[in-house]
Assembly symmetry: C2
Homo-oligomer: 259 residues x 2
Amino acid sequence: MYFSHMIAVVILGAGNVAYHLFHAFLHSEVVNVIQVYNRTSENLTGFSKNTTTTTTNISEIKDATLYIIAVNDDAIHELSHQLLHNNKLVVHTSGSVSMEELATKNRRGVFYPLQTFSKNKTVDFSQIPICIEAENKTDLELLETIAKNSTKKVFHINSKQRLQIHIAAVFVNNFVNHLYKIGCDLCEEENISFEILKPLILETASKIETLSPTTAQTGPAKRNDKKTIKKHLDKLNNHKEMYTLFTNTIIKTYGGKKL
Amino acid sequence: MYFSHMIAVVILGAGNVAYHLFHAFLHSEVVNVIQVYNRTSENLTGFSKNTTTTTTNISEIKDATLYIIAVNDDAIHELSHQLLHNNKLVVHTSGSVSMEELATKNRRGVFYPLQTFSKNKTVDFSQIPICIEAENKTDLELLETIAKNSTKKVFHINSKQRLQIHIAAVFVNNFVNHLYKIGCDLCEEENISFEILKPLILETASKIETLSPTTAQTGPAKRNDKKTIKKHLDKLNNHKEMYTLFTNTIIKTYGGKKL
């Protein structure tokens, strides 16, 4: 589908975020991705449709209304300077990079989808919060139009807040996933299927849809149940430091006495 | 509904586990809860139906096929000794208490539903794994019949394995929930709604339905992205110790160099 009034977009990058944005825009009636640029051709094969071309040559990048830089954090600054266009709207998609790291020759903004992307796992974009930021009101409105075409969850977030969200996401996504790995390792140690933990993992996540994390907290540390805590530490071979730090932090949070 | 061939059960205790077991059995055609005992009467009001009586007097406890002790870990041992019956099947519902802590005058077992229970949050029992253990085969079969009436997820688990599952549950439930609280606090610090993190939290939990936690791991620590890690530590006011421990552990797990 292509309408002449659609917003012409060039995506720069071919990683997970670029891939999922491209697919979110595929059936959009608002956005038309006219081109995808990447430094090398190897990852560009997943980005093909009738109205999209691909290129590895920065001087071949087409005129567009919006340029979305979806590359590694370290490459954003340089790529924004290499871009040959001027006075265009250029945004990046990073949680931890300030809008100010983009080259000043273009109008700057941020389009940050707050989700964990893996290429082999599809995501429902309508459930993904998108954090937008721009230097001027017109550009912010354009980003809002595009974001709202994919999701109801659009947030105006400045660079300082966005860094904080990115940190919070590291805690609730990266660190939580590492706790899942520890749970999985503990099961393997005693020849127990990791499947046994999965309903608890899902319930723990869905519980905070209706309860605050403080209300939802349970367990030996919350109860300051020293006897059970000792049993656990006696049984643990690894992860004792992690167990102790969490236990002390939870006991402190809920007013008990440390180990 | 009451059929004479139903298994007559007495529940001892009136806390969250007792409450959710009672309600899981309410419409069962296999189990009939004939009585609920509790030390005090205050929590017994939630346990009433036509065919169930309640009591606070241990000498009034009726004859039954199965006694389920669903009280605090510390009280299991004593209560199992106070019970006046002999040679009955008596089980407890605890993750961290050994079957051997039950009095030897009765046939012993364990009926441990692996889930986080809050009274003000209903749970779907059909999704809850139940870990069973018994001293003899006939009793184990009875527990299996009862468990399978509520859920497809029935596991034969010995006391050593059960303690390990309980520890793993502390990591993937209690500690994970505390990370949610940290995420919530970080949002509040910068006047951001905690709602923004909820889709990520749900996706993180559902991702491991199809990917192993190792495959699902992403983020600056996994990438050993020192620049982003430093940015986060510079911005953090609290939780630096937690951030550093996770980051170092993840870096070590995936083969990078520590901070």
